[in-house]
């Protein structure tokens, strides 16, 4: 069976308020993804559109986006796993190509959150939890991850300073990313002194809502080689779930769905954590990045903070992580986020990440989580 490659990857600027409609927003990412390819929209056989529906006024957005990108009458449909929607979209596109149904598939992720007030957005975010047993408490993602942070601190002695060091790094790289929403370098003190949101997470421990879009174009091996000189191969795919209700979790010191997805992806790719040259992980909160180090096997459980102390996740380190600034700098337009992470790894593996290039990166990993650890997706790419 044919291998599958990413041939194009694009994203819009992620912004607090984009000032355009979702269709216009999606076109920006689509345009960038097509740049440099020897194909046009006519050569795209199908599209998978990804977002979290609770923020959208538009119902059934796939038909609308497909029409605006002039992909009609090619098939299109909608895929959702909250914050990991576009990684799930990539998984579906891979299967469509592998099955021989389509040769070239576009995965388009988007979210426009600025149409809602932030408290309205928070209320809708809460509906990504169990609406009978947990949402009525008003619990949302920040509070969920705050409890993970508390558990990690209690078990391993992790401190608020450790968490802040994630943001110090990511803010450093965010400065250089023209697609990022937040582009100021933050000091440890800035972060530790920022206002409390939900204990122990402070303002700068949290990513911001944003508007944005991403687009990843995948193709079967022969087509991929004919339309680009630098295909990036999808060599490992892992996906898993955990309970919707946080009460059902085995522990709060790691995300079981991420551990399971990572295991699958490493096995499929035939690589180990130490083979990864560069990674993008789902740092919706500082603690989330720390959990990811351990869930992905970059550090043993409880030893993630050590990677930060030794600056091993900086560009020059053993395992550079989120050197595009991460969600903490870019902002987190739910449905677009996975595609943006994938785009960063594609640029790294092509040697085109001019802002912060990891030297000779050959194998990259994307860790994208939906909800508070409900959906885990790990994707391994290779040049």
């Amino acid at each position: 069976m044919e291998d599958v490659a990413i041939v194009g990857a694009g994203q819009s600027v992620f912004a607090r308020s984009c000032g355009e409609s979702i269709r216009e927003l999606c076109f920006e990412a689509y345009k960038e993804a097509l740049e440099g390819l020897d194909i046009t929209g006519n050569d795209i056989d199908a599209s998978v559109v990804c977002s979290a529906p609770e923020y959208d006024k538009q119902r059934s957005p796939s038909g609308l986006i497909s029409e605006y990108l002039e992909l009609t009458p090619k098939p299109t449909f909608y895929v959702e796993t909250v914050c990991s929607s576009s990684s799930t979209g990539l998984r579906v596109a891979w299967s469509l190509i592998k099955a021989g149904l389509h040769k070239t598939v576009a995965v388009i992720g988007f979210q426009k959150m600025s149409e809602l007030s932030s408290r309205d957005a928070a209320e809708r975010m809460g509906r990504g939890g169990d609406i009978i047993w947990e949402s009525p408490f008003g619990i949302t993602m920040p509070a969920g991850y705050a409890m993970y942070a508390r558990a990690h601190m209690a078990r391993y002695g992790t401190t608020e300073e450790h968490l802040a060091k994630v943001r110090v790094k990511n803010s450093h790289y965010g400065v250089a990313n023209p697609k990022a929403n937040y582009r100021k370098e933050l000091s440890l003190e800035d972060i530790l002194n920022s206002e409390m949101i939900t204990s122990p997470l402070k303002k700068f421990d949290c990513c911001a809502n944003a508007d944005g879009s991403s687009c990843i174009i995948l193709a079967g091996g022969d087509v991929a080689k004919s339309i680009t000189k630098k295909p990036i191969w999808v060599v490992g795919l892992g996906a898993a779930t955990d309970t919707m209700s946080m009460a059902g979790r085995k522990s709060l010191t790691g995300l079981q769905c991420a551990q399971e997805a990572a295991k699958q992806a490493y096995e499929m790719a035939g690589v180990k954590p130490q083979d990864i040259d560069v990674a993008e992980v789902h740092d919706c909160f500082t603690v989330s990045e720390l959990l990811a180090y351990e869930d992905l096997g970059f550090a043993k459980p409880g030893e993630g903070a050590g990677l930060l102390e030794d600056k091993e996740t900086y560009v020059e380190g053993k395992i550079p992580v989120n050197v595009d600034g991460g969600l903490l700098s870019k902002g987190h337009p739910i449905g677009a986020t996975g595609g943006s992470q994938i785009r960063t790894i594609v640029r790294q593996l092509r040697g085109e990440a001019t802002e912060a290039q990891v030297k000779d990166a050959e194998i990259g990993l994307v860790h994208n989580i939906g909800g508070v650890g409900q959906y885990g997706n790990v994707t391994i790419l290779r040049r």
Binding site: S117, S118, R119, D120, A122, E123, M125, G126, I131, I132, W133, E134, S135, P136, F137, G138, I139, T140, P142, A143, A146, M147, R150, A151, A154, E195, M196, I197, T198, S199, P200, L201, K203, S245, M246, A247, L252
Partner: protein, 162 residues
């Protein structure tokens, strides 16, 4: 008063924006849970065939597929394992501080709940909390002929044991 931008909402019940579950018997098969809650009982279902006691309550046993279930009481006190005090950006419909906790009910059961009647800085890990039942806005049910009926509702949280 008309809702700005949405004048058609005046006098209507926008069910998809409702914060609380559709508790009425017309809309789910575990309404007995809410009836029990009204009596300050915190309950779930036990399978009479295999003895499985899941929470939340079920209508079919997920272990053996039996439909022969009975209502049993769970403890109404527990210990706070983890908690967070949300002081900024709480969702629409809630006030700060919004306190969430992972509570150990003993008997091998944990649950996530809100902690109410508790000031910021008051709660500690290991504290004992007890069930608190409170009224929430009624649910509006459209009956035949467009008649709108109000179904009263309760919901639960936990509160510190003084």
């Amino acid at each position: 008063m008309p809702v700005p931008g949405v004048p058609i909402l005046e006098g209507l019940y926008p069910s998809t924006l409702d914060l609380y579950p559709f508790e009425a018997k017309e809309f789910n098969r575990i309404h007995q849970f809410y009836e029990n809650l009204r009596q300050k009982r915190f309950t779930t279902t036990k399978c009479k065939k295999c003895g499985n006691v899941p929470f939340p309550p079920r209508v079919v046993c997920p272990q053996c597929n039996s439909e022969d279930l009975e209502w049993v009481d769970l403890p109404t006190q527990g210990k706070v394992l983890r908690f967070t005090e949300e002081v900024a950006g709480v969702p629409l419909g809630f006030e700060s501080p919004l306190i969430h906790a992972l509570i150990d009910l003993g008997v091998g059961r944990k649950l996530i709940s809100r902690v109410i009647n508790c000031k910021e800085g008051q709660l500690k890990e290991g504290d004992t909390v007890k069930l608190a039942v409170y009224d929430v806005p009624p649910m509006i049910i459209e009956k035949r002929g467009g008649v709108m009926e109000e179904a009263p509702r309760v919901f639960f949280a936990f509160e510190p044991v003084k």
